[in-house]
Symmetry: C2
Subunit: 364 residues, 2 copies
């Protein structure tokens, strides 16, 4: 039997730092449990542009297509802000999502007990919160044509196209319903069907998939603006939220921030099953490249380590190991270990990225 294969793409900013801590976890699995991964590494984002003039080379794209899972750190940084659109760091990430066809982006918004005080929301609003946002990731306004900046009379016009086919909506709806069955059996679908025809089709298709395939799951619909409100007011009313690429971008970021645990949140982007039955998959922390603290050993590696835990669960059939790793992290937090981002206004002494990684390895 061959080892499961993992492509690591640390990316920009704090990406390499937090990924170094994941490497420690992987090493621990080899040393202590004789579980080995075939790990390869590549460039994505600004660091790839610096070397190759493109945020993702064809070779790295091919490698990503061939492995069992990809683990990505973060992309982007101010030094790339004025690059041409086609070679911006983000294009590397978007190409991976699109060409691997990772249509279901799972973004848990979860409040860690040890951190409930840290939210800007009142403790009773967020304590124990555990919702899952399923964001469509390969279509919508992120990829629709026509797009671009065009000349029209004597001025320019910027155009993007929101575009969803029935089958694109169907498959991501199924992902949401499947997840809900393993959770609290509730799905809320969000769009702007009162304003956008693409939202009307979205609502109709989600309802049809529900009625024909998942009548046992509780389904509701909400306009996305009301959804943003309700997430801020009483997020615990939700279990699984399914929404499009752009709404999902905003809503999942807001939800992540509400938990007070932003430096803690992982995500999984899943596609269709491969020959081995497991989905194509890429895992990444929800947080960005945080250029302001990059290279200083201040970053919190937990979101990236939890992304690896998601890989263990969804790509490597090691749900028990994932649970063990998550428990080790809970323990380290309960013992009081805190990177800088986890300290409230009261302060305290932060530990470094490497110290946090070491503590988690020790707790394992």
């Amino acid at each position: 039997m061959t080892n499961p294969s993992l492509l690591i793409l640390p990316g920009d900013g704090i990406g390499p730092e937090v990924m170094a801590e994941v490497r420690k976890i992987i090493a621990w699995y080899g040393d202590k449990r004789d579980v080995h991964f075939d790990v390869s590494e590549g460039l994505v984002g600004g660091c790839s542009y610096d070397v190759h003039g493109t945020p993702l080379t064809d070779e790295t794209m091919e490698l990503a297509q061939s492995v069992d899972a990809v683990l990505l750190g973060a992309v982007g940084g101010p030094q790339y802000d004025n690059l041409d659109f086609s070679v911006k760091p983000e294009r590397g990430l978007l190409r991976l999502r699109k060409e691997m066809d990772l249509y279901a982006n799972l973004r848990p918004a979860q409040c860690f007990d040890a951190l409930a005080d840290f939210s800007s929301l009142k403790k009773d609003v967020v304590a124990g919160l555990d919702i899952m946002i399923v964001r469509e990731l390969t279509s919508g306004i992120y990829f629709g044509e026509p797009r671009g900046i065009f000349k029209e009379g004597n001025e320019r016009v910027g155009i993007n196209t929101q575009r969803y086919t029935e089958s694109e909506i169907e498959r991501v709806a199924r992902s949401a319903f499947e997840l809900a069955r393993r959770r609290n059996n509730k799905v809320c679908s969000m769009e702007k069907a009162n304003v956008m025809e693409s939202g009307i089709l979205w609502r109709e298709v989600v309802q049809r998939v529900h009625d024909t395939e998942y009548p046992d799951v509780q389904l509701s619909h909400m306009y996305a603006d009301a959804g943003a409100m309700q997430l801020c007011r009483w997020p615990k009313q939700f279990d699984v939220i399914v929404t499009d690429n752009l709404f999902g971008d905003l809503l999942s970021d807001a939800a992540a921030m509400l938990t007070g645990s932003l430096g803690m949140l992982p995500s999984a982007s899943l596609g269709a099953p491969m020959a081995n039955g497991r989905p194509k998959a890429m895992y990444e922390p929800v947080h960005g490249s945080a250029p302001d603290i990059a290279g200083q050993g201040k970053a919190n590696p937990i979101a990236c380590i939890l992304s690896f835990a998601m890989a263990l669960r969804y790509s490597f059939d090691m749900g028990d190991e994932a649970t063990r790793l998550e428990a080790a992290i809970e323990k380290v937090l309960a013992d009081g270990a805190r990177t800088g981002d986890l300290l409230g206004p009261e302060g305290g002494s932060p530990i470094s990225t490497a110290q946090m990684g070491d503590a988690i390895v020790a707790a394992l």
Copy 2:
């Protein structure tokens, strides 16, 4: 000199109830201060569809074009959910915005002292909050063509088009900079320039308007997903936010909810100056038609009354009267008057919509 003219469109749900309280304020101005308005009234939304088969008749549209200001309650309700897209209640509202060319939607997100405890956010995060979201209201994905649900092969596809011209961005940017000068001189512009070409054009034009016309105002740019996060984390970092129609819809609703004062928030939608020098204008509460409590005398009329106060200020050159009306509302709240929506989980005895209106008139 003729009286200023006002078209009242109560609309659906709680619209008529809250508008009745505005009528009391208007009557007070006539009786006690000899200030008279030429008030006309019309139908918009579902109630117009019920009578005329359209959410806005051409006659009402013409009337709206001819008056100094429009005051709208709210539109929509579940009984209209299955109407054809073209006659949904919302189309009436959108037609008013588009044909009056009300391109700048001013949405204050303000936390009323008496209600700071009522937010789902911690008190220190929201107490004293006072930001202004300027949302572009007549373009973008709300109105762009092509749009619709089309057949493609053997499935359907839902399409909407995001579309901004330079001049559309310029004029709303100017509105934001003008407002900032009268406030704390800071504008933050939000888009997704990392993903959308329309966002690139947006950012470039806002920057150009700043550099050439408003170099004295402090300008920053933020991706809209990060903006959603930062609104949830520390909203006081903002003064004026300027953003497009769709992002503005979500971000302003989230911001309004964060203040804990949703039933309290007014909005103004302003267009180009008319012959008399004042802008075309429509005023409406930020809250919706709340069909669940409609007709029960439970609704909070304050948002609608504050919308009338905005009309006094922006359309009728009566800034002092607006300030007096706002002070009367603050006093009534400080005295403990609360409609049901303003009572926390601790409860208390709510007063009715009419009692709140009466209390405000008495305080005047």
